[in-house]
């Protein structure tokens, strides 16, 4: 190839490269987990508990088993291996044994020749329940004499952070109580997968998930199989947001496939999906902030309760996050945080975008506004004055070593243009609160503006050796050099696979990059969560590419040497060519008689668990965001319309600017949902609105234009200096919007979502008594601690025996 036909390598790091899965998704050709199909396939169905707490006296499956078309009906006794599973602790029964602990808990599974037969047969499974008293209120659960969800009590984990002198005096104190509701991830694709029995006695599971390897770690022991006989393959994922961190239909489908010898597919209905995955923990938060007269934070007290429902899930990590971020991205010299993750007989809660940070961000940002008001200061100024920066010390005693442009995100956010003021005269109802309902022409509509700042960790914390593996292969094709990237990292809709392709293009100067389907044939990539994959799997691909380049350069030098030439200067790759000191040496193709392959694992800097005073270097990288919301409220009808969201994000470096913008907008939509409408409504542990008819998420008419700015201050020590951006918009959107609603109405709104009744004063602010006393469980090793990849292997211990 001559220099004249040089093809530039496009779509590398820093460009808004076209998504690798974009065209098939837009055209409807992308195969999601719910599209899986195989010859001779059976349909799996789950029989679930109608009670929040009951003893199972017996299960009669005779009628179901004899129903024509049914191939298997399985109960707890049929679980071949370990009877329980769990992300951090194996506390959740694969199928309920003698007791059910929440409405929707799986009791029996069956496989049938079609979905209708499966449904009808499921109705014929007769379970004899003895209904027991349930505890469905998180404060109630902490009181003596409350029904016990587990024999080890109603506390999964308690975190106490003691920082500085919690008795330090302050000039001005503000106090508040805040609640957030249980939120659903509202994944577009419900839980779905297909298990195919294999000739070696093992099973291949195709499943829409966030982390193939942690699934396998939980699935294999329950099946009584060695891990190598349980092979997982990523099926098309229709959104995740934390909902796919826990095992759902995985073990059930495998059990049915192994029992029947046929492929078994399980796809949850939308209603079932509300029982099939964990939700965002509902929260109750008490906070007291003390400051000097000139607005310096002196002392913060926070009492945080999260209702985790019936099982552990990732609740211990969620409460640790909630505790460590409880005081916000501010310098706080003295603090006491007491945070408890409670068990109740509600549906289990676990991971959701933000992972404990949104609940406390809602509270600490309301407190900052309260403080500003008490001091007669501008809310932005109070935040700027206390903003964390590189070198600041967090409440866990961690010195912030990485970039921490808190001041910059606030200033950039406030500098974004405000929306236009509405013109005088009647307005188009569609653009007003109430939208398509045609309720107003502008009467009774008031504007309000609010801001919020928040922060969160990137990747896993607390001493967990977080890692990601990738394999990169460079080979020759008729069209020139090509790259194959193999990683187990799940693309869940956020654009990770495009990022991995961009990294390979930039590192190797080769545009033609394909991805091997993600599976467990390669090592773990870790979870697609915690905003970590750009850093972790991006880092693994970068390392593997660099190893490949090294071998390529070795070949280049060897060939030059055999021709009697010495290459001067550093060798680099660009546009399909090898360069020495910037000067072309030859086409990469010429050195690929044998393909080059490398496999590498990326680890981030080690962190530490919290000690008994809640101190430690727990987080590896922190990301910050500020958001301003402009809302309109119909003061008479209590309807709200967000007019604009302005968002500034600390991203280190934008690998794919359009992807970053997409995450900011999508994350903001999710935070808007929690601010205004999203709530899994519970009544005695029963979900009252398990459908998209009654669990409302924002529509196009609810989502305003989002104007965003990115602050690119590269994070030292991480690939390209890039920070993840998946979660930050979600945590700041809710408090910013609710602050704007407070400004518009003058009402002390302290619960999200805000209901019309709250906006017009039909319902008073939620009230609370004093914070509940901290449980006596915290200690050097609180019950239990986070084990990450050792998931599913931990037994929950009684606190006294630990």
């Amino acid at each position: 190839m001559s220099v004249g036909t040089l093809r530039r390598t496009r779509g590398g790091v820093g460009s808004s490269a076209r998504r690798v899965d974009g065209v098939p998704k837009v055209k409807g050709a992308f195969q999601y987990g719910s599209d899986l199909w195989a010859e001779e396939m059976l349909w799996g169905q789950t029989v679930r508990s109608p009670h929040a707490h009951a003893r199972i006296r017996g299960v009669d499956i005779a009628k179901a088993l004899s129903y024509p078309g049914v191939r298997a009906v399985l109960l707890a006794a049929d679980v071949p291996g370990r009877k329980t599973f769990g992300l951090e602790f194996a506390d959740q029964p694969v199928l309920a044994q003698d007791r059910v602990r929440y409405v929707g808990e799986p009791v029996a599974i069956l496989a049938a020749v079609d979905p209708e037969v499966a449904r009808r047969a499921a109705e014929r499974v007769v379970v004899d329940y003895e209904v027991l008293p349930a505890v469905t209120d998180m404060e109630e659960a902490l009181r003596p004499g409350a029904p016990q969800v587990h024999e080890y009590g109603n506390v999964l984990h308690h975190v106490r952070i003691v920082h500085g002198d919690p008795d330090a005096p302050a000039d001005v104190w503000v106090e508040g109580y805040y609640e957030t509701a249980m939120q659903d991830q509202a994944i577009l694709g419900p839980e779905a997968g297909m298990a195919v029995p294999a000739d070696d006695g093992g099973v291949d599971l195709y499943v829409a998930t966030q982390w193939l390897h942690v699934d396998r770690q939980q699935v294999a022991p329950c099946l009584g199989l060695p891990p190598e006989k349980v092979r997982l393959h990523l099926a098309g994922v229709g959104g995740a947001f934390g909902a796919r961190e826990d095992v759902s239909m995985h073990i059930h489908a495998c059990m049915l496939a192994l029992r029947t010898g046929r492929p078994v597919r399980i796809v949850y209905s939308r209603e079932e999906s509300f029982f099939g995955h964990v939700h965002r923990h509902p929260s109750r938060v008490w906070m007291r902030h003390g400051a000097t007269r000139d607005g310096r934070l002196v002392n913060v007290y926070a009492r945080v309760l999260l209702d985790g429902g019936a099982y552990a899930s990732s609740g211990a990590a969620v409460i640790t996050n909630a505790a460590t971020f409880a005081t916000g991205p501010y310098e706080v010299p003295n603090a006491l945080v007491e945070a408890t993750r409670v068990f109740t007989h509600n549906p289990p809660c676990g991971a959701m975008r933000g992972f404990g940070a949104p609940q406390v961000c809602f509270a600490h940002e309301a407190q900052m506004d309260r403080l500003a008001q008490a001091l007669g200061m501008d809310p932005a100024r109070v935040r700027l004055q206390n903003a964390m920066k590189t070198g600041s010390v967090t409440i866990t005693g961690q010195v912030v070593r990485g970039s921490a442009p808190v001041r910059q995100v606030i200033e950039r956010c406030l500098a974004l243009p405000m929306p236009e003021e509405p013109a005088a005269g009647p307005r188009d109802p569609q653009a007003l609160p109430g939208g398509a309902g045609n309720v107003s022409r502008g009467e009774g509509v008031r504007r309000g503006v609010g801001i919020a700042v928040g922060y969160k960790n990137i990747a896993y914390s607390g001493g967990f050796d977080d890692s990601a593996e990738a394999r990169v292969r460079v080979f020759r094709t008729a069209d020139g050099p090509a790259v194959e990237v193999h990683s187990a990292a799940a693309e869940v809709g956020e654009g990770l696979h495009t990022v991995l392709v961009q990294v390979a293009r930039t590192e190797l100067g080769i545009e033609h990059v394909t991805l091997h389907p993600p599976d467990t044939a390669i090592g773990s990539a870790g979870s697609t969560s915690a905003s970590r994959q750009t850093m972790m799997s991006g880092g693994a691909v970068q390392l593997a590419c660099r190893a490949v380049a090294e071998e390529l350069f070795r070949r280049v030098r060897a060939r030059a040497a055999s021709a009697g030439r010495t290459l001067r200067g550093e060798l680099t790759l660009a546009d399909g060519r090898v360069l020495a000191a910037g000067e072309p040496v030859g086409e990469v193709d010429n050195y690929l008689d044998e393909p080059i392959e490398a496999r590498r694992t990326y680890h981030h800097r080690p962190t530490q668990p919290l000690d008994e005073r809640g101190q430690g270097d727990v987080h590896v990288t922190l990301a910050f965001a500020a958001q301003r919301a402009v809302v309109e409220v119909d003061e008479e009808l209590g309807l709200a319309r967000v007019v604009q969201l302005a968002s500034a994000h600390d991203v280190g470096r934008a690998i794919n600017p359009q992807g970053v913008e997409g995450q900011i907008e999508g994350g903001a939509a999710m935070g808007l949902g929690l601010a205004l409408m999203e709530e899994v409504q519970l009544d005695g542990g029963r979900i009252r609105n398990a459908s998209f008819t009654d669990y409302l998420i924002p529509t196009f008419l609810d989502m305003p234009p989002v104007v965003s700015a990115v602050v690119e201050e590269p994070e030292p020590g991480v690939p390209y200096g890039a920070k993840g951006v998946g979660e930050m918009a979600t945590l700041v959107a809710t408090p910013a919007i609710v602050a704007a609603l407070r400004a518009a109405t003058g009402r002390p709104l302290n619960r999200a979502p805000v209901r019309p009744d709250d906006l017009i004063g039909l319902a008073p602010p939620v009230a609370s008594g004093p914070p509940p006393p901290a449980p006596a469980v915290p200690g050097p090793r609180p019950v239990p601690h986070y084990h990450g990849l050792d998931a599913g292997q931990q037994e929950l211990m009684r606190p006294e025996s630990d």
Binding site: R119, S269, G434, A436, V439, L637, N689, T699, P756
Partner: protein, 288 residues
Amino acid sequence: MEVLLPRTLDEALAIKAGRPEAVPIAGGTDLMVALNFDRARPPALLDVSRLPELRQWRRKEGWLVLGAGVTYARIVRELPEVVPLVQAARSVGSPQIRNRGTVGGNLGTASPAGDALPVLAAYDAEVELASAGGRRTVPFNEFMVGPKKTVLRPDELIVATHWRFVRGPGSFSKVGTRNAMVIAVASVCLVLDEAGHTVRVALGSVGPTILRAPDAERFVAGALAAAGWWDDPRATLPAQVAREFGERVAAAARPIDDVRGTAAYRRHACGVLARRALVWALEARRAA
């Protein structure tokens, strides 16, 4: 499950006479949800979406005859002059739902939250029902007798709804907890009848059926008459008329607390919506 596909209304009625358990399906926007949620497993579906007579609307001697199978999307496109109906139609679901959903479906489901129903109530519409044995016409307020309860007999199909054109402004409004694609928490249709000197107001989603507010209607018609407003729309009305009208409408609501909203909010919203609708109607006639 059998799916029966008649080509004409007569054929459909003959099938229905023999198979009264067959459930009619047009757009399927309610029925398919029920099937999906496993709440209904009818032995047979009777597809009425291709019956020509049901898909038509026409004007006839001062009446509008609206076939039961006319979709909301067509109402928005083809009947712009029937403002309250268009406003109700535009508030139904999403564009996809509006392309499928029909007024006949709202009548058949008979949910108090059916968006088109307050409009039919305010227009004093009639519902035309047919069976193999013949046809009958039932006033809307006698057709719907409770939540999801109507006087439709098992051998009958809903053919159309008709009402006499009303000269005068009117509107439909509904509140929900998001700005589109929401089931009504409360809805109000107000129609001002310039010829009859009446104001009619109907409420959705705040009672077991669609409610009218006769006390409020009489009050406001009287107040307009007393002010000479019917003859001169520029005549000044006492300021508290609209407010009191709203209060009386709110008093007519019989709401409950449910997963979508509280009874107190629903009653309050009815009052606000009715007051605003009256003000808009008065302004519209004044400006006309």
